[in-house]
C-alpha cells in the first residue's frame, strides 16, 4: 500500500533522448578518424571535472591548458572543481535517474573511483587507444592496469605520481628514513605529525605504504582481493596507527581534510612533515612562496607508492569528441612537458621517454626540478606499485571503523 502510494504520488516517467540513437552516434565516434573528431570538436565547450584543492594545478589548467585548447582546437575549456568520489556518485545518480545527457565531459580519475565507475557502466569507451598521442608515446604495458584493475582503454593516461614526504631542513637535520624511525620521531615530538584523512588520496596512500611495510611487502596482495588475507593482516595496521594517535597533531582527534589542508599546516609550521604524490610539489610551493626555501623531500626505505593517474569520459558526456581532443592534448609532449615544470605543477610525465625524439628527450632532461626534488636515482629503488583497488577500499573503510572511531 505504502509502496503504491509513493509510486503514484510522484511523477517519474520522463524519458530523455532515445538511448538507441545516442548509442549509434557513440559507436561512430569510436570509429571515426581523429581528424574528424577534431573537426567535430572545434567551436565546442568542454567541462572537465577534477579535484580542485590544489591552487597551482587549477592555475595550470585555467591558464596554460585552457589557452592552448582555445588556440589549437577552438575549444572552450571549463574546469569544475569536484572530488573524484563526489562526481562518481553524481554520475551514479544520473544513471539511476536515466539522464542521458549529463554535464561532465572529462574526469580526472584513477584507482577505486575508476573501478567503481567502470563497474557501474558509467564510462564511455574504449577510447584511449583512439588517441594519437597515446598510440605514439605511451607504453601500453604501463597503463594496462590501474590499481590492479584492467583499464581496457576506458581511461587515458595523464600523469605519474610517486609518494614523497616533505620536511624543513632548517628545522630537522636528518629526517627518519624508515617507518620504525618515523614512529620513534613522532613519539619524541608530540603533535607534530599527521596525515590527511582517508579517503583523501594522499592520506590513503600513506596508510597503504604503512600497510605494505608492516605486513611484509606488497607482493602478497597483487593477486586480487583476498578477504581472509586482509582480515589477518590489517589489524597490524590499525594497531600501529592507533598506537600513534595520542602523539599526532590534535591527538588524532582531527585529521586534515585533504592534502591541501596538510600543505597548509606544514607551510605554517604546525606540523613537521608534509606529504605529496608529486615529487616536485615542494619545489613548486617554494617557487610560489608558500614554503620556506629550506624545504626538502625524502622517501622511506620501506617503500614509496607510485601510480598513474588518468582522464576518463562519462557515459552521458554531452561533448565526447571535445573530451577526446582534450584527453589527447593532455598526454601530448607539450602538455606533459609544461606539467612537468615545477613552476607549473611538477607532475611526472606518463609518457614513455624512450619513444620520444632525441630533441624532446633533451627538453625533458633540461627541466630544472630544483634542489627540493629527489632524483630518480633516489626515487626509483624504493618505488612500489599500487595493490588492487578492493584493498584500498577495505583499508579506507577499516580506517574509519578502527582508527577514526
Amino acid at each position: 500500500m505504502l509502496r503504491s502510494l509513493f509510486a503514484s504520488g510522484v511523477l517519474l516517467a520522463i524519458l530523455g533522448t532515445s538511448p538507441i540513437m545516442l548509442q549509434a552516434a557513440e559507436e561512430k565516434l569510436l570509429e571515426a578518424s581523429f581528424e574528424t573528431i577534431e573537426e567535430q570538436a572545434a567551436g565546442t565547450a568542454v567541462h572537465w571535472y577534477m579535484f580542485g584543492g590544489w591552487a597551482h594545478v587549477n592555475s595550470w589548467v585555467d591558464g596554460y591548458v585552457a589557452a592552448e585548447m582555445k588556440k589549437r582546437y577552438d575549444i572552450d575549456l571549463t574546469r569544475v572543481p569536484m572530488d573524484a568520489g563526489v562526481f562518481v556518485n553524481k554520475l551514479l545518480n544520473e544513471k539511476a535517474a536515466g539522464k542521458q545527457t549529463g554535464s561532465i565531459d572529462l574526469l580526472w580519475i584513477n584507482g577505486e573511483n575508476f573501478k567503481n565507475a567502470k563497474e557501474a557502466g558509467l564510462l564511455f569507451g574504449p577510447f584511449a587507444s583512439r588517441l594519437p598521442n597515446v598510440q605514439q608515446y605511451v607504453d601500453p604495458n604501463s597503463v594496462a592496469f590501474d590499481f590492479g584493475y584492467p583499464v581496457e582503454g576506458y581511461e587515458a593516461p595523464f600523469g605519474k605520481a610517486q609518494f614523497v614526504f616533505e620536511y624543513d631542513s632548517a628545522a630537522i637535520d636528518s629526517p627518519p628514513r624508515t617507518l620504525a624511525a618515523l614512529k620513534t620521531w613522532i613519539k619524541a615530538h608530540p603533535g607534530r605529525f599527521t596525515y590527511p584523512q582517508p579517503p583523501d588520496f594522499t592520506g590513503s596512500a600513506f596508510i597503504r605504504q604503512v600497510f605494505y611495510a608492516l605486513t611484509g611487502g606488497h607482493e602478497q596482495y597483487l593477486q586480487g582481493f583476498d578477504r581472509e588475507l586482509f582480515e589477518r593482516q590489517s589489524p597490524k595496521l590499525w594497531d600501529f596507527l592507533n598506537a600513534l594517535q595520542p602523539w599526532l597533531w590534535q591527538k588524532g582527534q582531527t585529521y586534515p581534510k585533504n592534502s591541501a589542508s596538510l600543505d597548509t599546516l606544514f607551510s605554517r609550521g604546525e606540523v613537521a612533515f608534509g606529504m605529496s604524490y608529486h615529487p616536485p610539489h615542494a619545489q613548486n610551493k617554494i617557487l610560489e612562496g608558500s614554503y620556506p626555501e629550506s624545504v626538502r623531500t625524502f622517501v622511506l626505505e620501506d617503500g614509496s607508492i607510485y601510480n598513474i593517474h588518468y582522464t576518463a569520459i562519462p557515459f552521458n558526456a554531452p561533448n565526447k569528441a571535445g573530451a577526446m581532443v582534450l584527453a589527447n592534448f593532455l598526454i601530448s609532449v607539450e602538455a606533459q612537458l609544461a606539467k612537468y615544470r615545477p613552476q607549473a605543477w611538477g607532475d611526472f610525465p606518463a609518457l614513455d621517454i624512450s619513444r620520444l625524439s632525441p630533441a624532446d628527450r633533451k627538453r625533458f632532461a633540461e627541466v630544472d626540478l630544483g634542489p627540493a626534488t629527489l632524483s630518480s636515482a633516489e626515487l626509483d629503488p624504493v618505488a612500489v606499485p599500487e595493490i588492487p583497488a578492493a584493498y584500498l577500499e577495505a583499508l579506507e573503510q577499516g580506517w574509519e571503523e578502527h582508527v577514526l572511531h
Partner: protein, 261 residues
Amino acid sequence: MKQLGVLLLLLVLFVLPVIVLGLTSLAPGWRFPDLWPRTFSLAGLDYLLKNQERILVSLGSSCLFSLMTVLTTCGMCLAPAAVFARFAFPGKTLLEGLLLTPALVPPMTFAMGLHFLFIKFSLSDTMPGVVLILSMFSYPYMFRALVAGFQNMGQEYEICARNLGAGNLRTLLSVELPLLLPALIAGGSVVFLVAFSEYFLVFLIGGGSVPSFTGTLFPLLSSSNRALASILTLVFLFVPVCLFLTLDTILVRVYRRRGLI
C-alpha cells in the same frame, strides 16, 4: 571614553578581519611568529588578473542567480503577503508558521530529497534549478518583509486608486509597488545575500555546471596559498557593498525626483 571603547570593540571584531585579509592577500608567505608580514608580493593580484575571466564569470553567474532568486521570491510572495496583511481567515497563524519553516529547518533536509527528482526532470545542473532551490529556502525573508510593508501601507491607497478608475495591474504597478519599495528592498537584500553566499545548495543542485563565486572560493580556502583565498574574499565583500550603495543612491534620487522625501 566608554564610547570609544565600544567603537574600538566593533572595529576589532568586525573590521580587523578585513584588514588582516587585505594583508594576507599581499603576503602569501606570512607565518608564525611574525605579527607583520616579512615580505610582500603581488602574486595574489597577479592570479586575480590572470584568472579574471573565470572569476568574472563566476561572479556574474552568482549575481545573476541571486537576482533571479530575488525576483522569484518577490513573485511568489507579493499577492500572498497582501492577503496576510489585510485579511483574517481561519488557520492564518498556523499557515503563517508553516510558511516560515523553510527558512528555519536545515535546507539539506528537503534539498537532498529533491535532488533526485531534479535530476530526473533535468533541473539539476541548470540555473533555473538553482534559482528554485534557493528561492525555496529564502522566500520567508521576502514574505515577512512584504507582509510588514503591506501592513504599514494600509489599504487606503489601493481603494483610492481603484475609485479613480485604475485596474488591478495599474494599481499594483503605479501605486502599490512604489510604496512597497522599502519593504521590497529590505526583503530583497536579505534574499540576495542568502543566495549569494550559499555554497552547499548551489553545489548540490548546480553540480558545478552553474558557476558560482562561493564554488570558486571554496577549494582555495583550505589551500596553503592563503593570499588567493583572501583576495577573493575581499572581492566577495566588495560586490554586495557596491550593489547596495548604488541601489541606495538610485533610490534616494528617485524618491527626490518624485518628491517623496
